[in-house]
């Protein structure tokens, strides 16, 4: 049994403690926006926020997450798709197939929250998610756009 705070709701989940957080989110809780890509924290398709930090949920056992930690998935990033990163993604028509994009958006949102004015080098260092369609150019442009707009960041 695990107690989890996901997208602002406390949930009790009957699950083996070894189960990766990704699969609890997808299969027990039923939020499928967070994707499985590799299972070994390589590709980032499973990225969620744990207390605001971009976290690869496929390799994190649910037992390692406490009820006090706030988990946010793509579905909880904003109630209506209005998070600045989501809006920039739409403005730049970033996604191609879209499968990696939940993780990409969550990684970008966490980056911008921690570093509201990332340089191109910061983006290259922090955005390590894999996209096989090759949306990187647009990902970078959308992040720089949000940074320029000054809508995200501490205080």
């Amino acid at each position: 049994m695990a107690k989890l705070n996901i997208n602002g709701r406390m949930l009790d989940v009957a699950v083996d403690g070894d189960t990766p957080l990704l699969w609890v989110i997808r299969e027990q809780i039923g939020l499928t926006g967070t994707k499985y890509g590799c299972g070994v924290a390589q590709c980032g398709a499973c990225t969620v926020h744990v207390d605001g930090v971009a976290t690869r949920s496929c390799a994190l056992p649910v037992s390692a997450v406490s009820a006090e930690q706030k988990i946010v998935t793509i579905e909880g990033l904003s109630p209506d798709g209005s998070h600045p990163v989501q809006k920039a993604w739409i403005a730049h028509d970033v996604p191609q197939c879209g499968y990696c994009q939940s993780g990409m958006i969550m990684a970008a949102a966490a980056l911008l929250q921690a570093n509201p004015k990332p340089s191109e080098a910061d983006i290259a260092n922090e955005m390590t998610n894999i996209c096989r369609c090759g949306t990187y150019t647009r990902v970078k442009a959308a992040i720089l756009d949000v940074a320029a707009s000054g809508t995200l960041g501490r205080g």
């Binding site: 028509d93 970033v94 150019t137």
Partner: protein, 730 residues
């Protein structure tokens, strides 16, 4: 019917199942429409105008799309072509997929479903545009009949029909029902592309919003009442079999419901959740009978292919004059051997499908590049006739050719579902299964021998390709007299498809087929990838040997190939080939032709003293004949460089003991954002033909960069991937 639209609200109706809601968290789930058994399309209340167009009373336009959307934007591009001829309001356009079963039942009214070879738009543009134009004519006729005036006096713009003389107008939605009763016209003239207002424009995609909020449903996300989840392990050695498996060991593990054989080669574990199935599968003792192939390695395959480079027997793909005599009489002979490895498609979404089997009906839901092939696979694997089967397409989390010609995962899920009748079974491959059971980029080697005269002119060229045939692996019935015509992609005699861009007076291009046991597949860019590396890197070698500028050396051979030459010139101009680069930065150039389009690229790179490559800039030019959506072409070109550079720099699946070594992205490295160069796309549509855009520029990624690396270091990259080569200064 799965719908895509600019509307963010999920499509729900009595004909759809609400999926995505789990008891624990229903409040923040998204509803979405998945198709269920025996469904008709959206025509019971609202009649279609014709097979391609449905108009609702509120003017909403539904455009039917037979090809698959996998990120390449074909959904939006095809809708633009239909909407252009329909003269409808683009803001009111949505799309839907007819199912393959519906198409079969209507005598294939939607034509070919296959979405590969960059054919989605170029091979259906004519009939989808006619579908839109015919619907417009019918809507206008319906209004004209209502007004009792000749249709020729009426016109339509943005979903409104106007009779100018009387000042009357009607909306499409008001006459849609009457139009649906009219006969579909046969003589349907199309607009001149220069008059386009919707097609040809850089419009936004129709399917973006759901990809930014988690609402988009992929095959891996499907849920159905009572559904069980399956994980599978196929014998890691291709051609091997299951010798034994101790199912009792895992039967009591949490959630496990079934352990079933899948043919002679694989075992599946079925459980309540996929994680439970995967965990139990990992614990399942399986003994394999690996068979003879266990002796094969990358080294043994390479040795076999090497033998083919000089083998007396080979099939000729292109021949002009007498290349061997030209080489024998040359002032100088240049010779090099190149190679290209196995590579996995590595779609971000692993292979998956959901199936429900009963003795009366077999249904499959799956991301596929070819709905009709998925339907055929379901029929064959279930033993039921096509009429008792259906395949529902789901948008793909990447395709790249893996989900087109071969539907091995569909066969697997049906074989599993047949053993558990009545229960929907969702099969999802682990990344490891996906890496070990790809349909790999074919492995080939190439020996090139060039003849130069005393002035450094190319008088003869022999290209001997040795290695794998995709067609032999997938459609062996199409191999005639040992010949696979696809092997010569980009090297064919002059013509509209994949033709060589040079007039070489004595030319011989031949192929010694060598098919290892590793199954080949159509891998985005297909044979154009390696052939362009072979030819264009060797052209660079010849230019260097002749002491000529690589651009000028090419131009001299391209006088009779104006389309190839125009694109090469366009890229050289944009890249300012004549101007000096900053110190330490070097250029490479190349061109090719395939998938109906002419492409060329310039790469600017630097290589540090410790051998680290940096790609500063790519300029890529494309002539696809017509540009249906320039914004999406730019994205396809950028993505093509990510795919092509992943292959050039990192991509390699190695064979050891008959199986693939690389099992995940930690060892199968792909390009990430930090390695992504700036890509400048130059679109030069010359009209008069229709070429594809999803693949051709992949082929120019590697040779442009490899030629630039030579300019920077004096080292020739002749073996893909670059990671195996030391670029440090000697």
């Amino acid at each position: 019917m799965i719908s895509a639209s600019a509307d963010t609200s999920p499509t729900l109706s009595r004909r759809t199942l609400l999926a995505g809601s789990a008891a624990a968290a229903g409040a923040f789930s998204f509803g979405f429409a998945i198709p269920v058994a025996g469904e008709a399309m959206a025509q019971e209340a609202v009649k279609e105008i014709n097979a391609w167009v449905v108009v609702h009373p509120d003017d909403k336009v539904v455009i039917r799309i037979a090809r698959s959307e996998m990120g390449q934007g074909t959904l939006t591009g095809l809708a633009q072509l239909v909407a252009e001829e329909l003269n409808c309001d683009w803001a009111k356009v949505t799309t839907e997929y007819p199912t393959p079963g519906q198409s079969v039942a209507r005598n294939r009214v939607w034509g070919n479903f296959s979405t590969g070879g960059s054919r989605g738009i170029r091979e259906s543009q004519d009939y989808v545009r006619k579908g839109g134009a015919a619907a417009r004519m019918m809507l206008i006729q319906a209004a004209a009949s209502q007004w009792n005036v000749p249709a020729a006096e009426c016109s339509a713009e943005k979903s409104v029909i106007t009779h100018k003389a009387s000042g009357r107008s009607l909306r499409y939605g008001q006459v849609a029902e009457a139009a649906s009763k009219l006969e579909v016209p046969k003589d349907v003239p199309l607009k001149d592309p220069k008059d386009w207002t919707i097609a040809g424009k850089p419009l936004k995609r129709l399917d973006t919003v759901d990809k930014t909020n988690g609402a988009k449903i992929y095959g891996t996300d499907l849920k159905m009442p009572g559904m069980l989840n399956a994980a599978i392990r196929d014998c890691p050695v291709f051609g091997g079999k299951v010798k034994s498996c101790d199912a009792a060991k895992i039967k009591a593990m949490p959630g496990v419901t079934h352990v079933v054989p899948v043919g002679e080669t694989a075992v599946a574990v079925v459980a309540e959740t996929w994680w439970q199935a995967k965990t139990a599968l990992d614990a399942l003792p399986i003994e394999w009978d690996n068979g003879e192939n266990a002796k094969v390695s990358s080294e043994s395959i390479a040795a076999w292919l090497k033998e083919g480079l000089d083998a007396p027997e080979a099939v000729i793909g292109n021949q002009v004059g007498d290349a061997k005599a030209a080489i024998a009489n040359a002032a100088r002979v240049i010779e090099s051997v190149y190679s290209y490895p196995f590579q996995n498609h590595a779609t971000m979404e692993p292979m998956n499908a959901t199936a429900r089997y009963t003795p009366e009906r077999c249904e499959v839901w799956t991301p596929t590049q070819n709905g009709e092939a998925a339907l055929a696979a379901a029929s064959e694997a279930s033993g039921l006739p096509i009429a008792k089967c259906e395949a529902y397409k789901i948008d793909l989390g990447g395709g790249f050719g893996r989900r087109g010609a071969v539907h091995d995962w569909v066969r697997q899920v049906v074989v599993i579902a047949k053993q558990i009748p009545g229960i929907p079974i969702k099969l999802v491959w682990s990344r490891e299964e996906d890496m070990l059971h790809g349909r790999y980029h074919p492995v080939t080697q190439c020996k090139l021998t060039g003849a130069l005269d005393k002035d450094g002119n190319l008088t003869g060229l022999h290209m001997r390709i040795s290695g794998q045939s995709i067609v032999a692996g997938i459609f062996p019935q199409n191999i005639q007299n040992g010949r696979d015509p696809a092997v010569f992609q980009g090297l064919n005699p002059p013509g509209p498809e994949a033709s060589i861009g040079y007039g070489i007076p004595n030319l011989l291009i031949d192929h010694a087929m060598r098919n290892p046991h590793v199954p080949p597949g159509f891998w985005r860019g297909v044979n154009l990838n390696q052939n362009t590396i072979y030819l264009e890197c060797f052209m660079d070698e010849l230019a260097h040997a002749a002491g000529k500028d690589p651009l000028e050396f090419r131009r001299a051979l391209m006088k009779d190939h104006p389309k190839h030459l125009a694109v090469l010139n366009a890229v050289a101009k944009k890249a300012e080939w004549d101007k000096a680069l900053p110190a330490g930065v070097y250029r490479g150039i190349c061109q090719t032709m395939g998938f109906g389009s002419y492409v060329a690229a310039v790469a600017e790179v630097s290589v540090s003293a410790d051998g680290k490559l940096k790609i500063h800039r790519i300029v890529a030019a494309t002539d696809p004949g017509h540009a249906v959506n320039p914004a999406q072409i730019e994205r396809q070109v950028e993505g093509s460089f990510v795919y092509g550079l992943s292959a050039a720099l990192h991509g390699e699946c190695t064979v050891k003991d008959g199986r693939m070594v690389e099992e995940n992205f930690d060892t199968y490295t792909v390009l990430r954002l930090d390695e992504m160069p700036a890509v400048e796309t130059v679109i030069v549509p010359s009209g008069g033909f229709w070429g594809g855009v999803g693949e051709p520029t992949i082929a120019v990624a590697a040779p442009a960069v490899f030629n630039a690396i030579f300019a920077a270091t004096g080292k020739r990259v002749r073996s893909v991937p670059l990671k195996n080569m030391d670029l440090r200064k000697a």
